[in-house]
Symmetry: C2
DNA sequence: GTTGTTGCAAAACGTTTGCAGTAAA
DNA sequence: TTTACTGCAAACGTTTTGCAACAAC
């Protein structure tokens, strides 16, 4: 399994169990996805790699602690997890569609400068940031414009 | 009550009830605070303005929908609400201390340019953004440095 | 008087925990 | 063999919901 070595190294005194391998592997297969605990549980079940939900939660916590995963809160009531790429690539932002709940990634990170400025101005030691843009994706935006049109001309114009 | 007119105007077809006035008033008195539903419930209780918890939740939802409050997710498992100032001032960011859970505000908004750029590049209609910096506030940062020192010299040096 | 709103209690939801059995080291 | 880990079920804290009583309009 690719990435197995990384997992083993990071685990250190922790044990390398099948459950932990399965969960980590799932994130390697879904690098761009933002999976909830429930997603992980369900996806493993579908692959006949059933892992108890409590174990899923405990493992996700552990992998975050080890720096292998990143935890996000997009405001839909559940936490979502994502593979942390190399530290170079790890900075990116999210576009959260308020209509379809889709999550899109923005690759650039243009906050380094801002981060330094804020850190020195506010005497706050920054270790991470989350930047989320809320709005409407192209698809939903088009639909919404369509609907507005219809509302203004209910007879159909 | 200051701001009452604004509430009445925004409510439109909704009804202006004592409960809604009390909750909105609480946010006018706590412009810089990030109150959870439980906070609102408890604070009103202390002021002999008891409102049922379910009503607190329903009202907070409504006030967000009306654009009077903003909902935040700082990752501590509960939603927090904050008064939306005039649209000019409404953009600001948060410093979340990972140690003491303190939330500090950064007044500037330097993302307008970035927002426009992302909107056009990704064909995403941005209506809001949340920018959170995670790290350690001055107080906790000092404590942490102190602790590290002690760990390196356990005999005390 | 009509209809939206409230408060309560119950339920739902995501998440955590206690514990006995299991398996990695 | 030791000790960490797992799975289950029960508990937890936050949020939502059904419903009858109530109050704003």
């Amino acid at each position: 399994m690719p990435g197995e070595k990384e997992l083993k190294e990071k685990l250190k005194e922790h044990r390398l169990t099948p459950q932990r391998r399965h969960i980590f592997a799932l994130f390697l297969e879904n690098k761009e996805k933002h999976l909830s605990a429930e997603d992980v549980y369900r996806l493993l079940q579908e692959k006949d790699r059933q892992v108890g939900l409590a174990t899923v939660y405990r493992t996700l916590d552990l992998l975050v602690e080890l720096g292998l995963l990143q935890k996000h809160h997009f405001g839909d009531g559940r936490s979502r997890y994502e593979r942390v790429q190399s530290s170079m690539e790890h900075r990116h932002h999210h576009l959260v569609c308020l209509k379809c709940q889709g999550i899109y990634e923005v690759k650039e990170d243009l906050l380094c400068h801002l981060e330094r400025q804020i850190a020195s101005e506010h005497k706050f030691e920054i270790v991470d940031h989350h930047l989320q843009f809320f709005g409407y994706c192209a698809k939903c935006s088009a639909k919404s414009r369509q609907k507005k049109k219809e509302d203004n001309n209910p007879q159909g114009g």
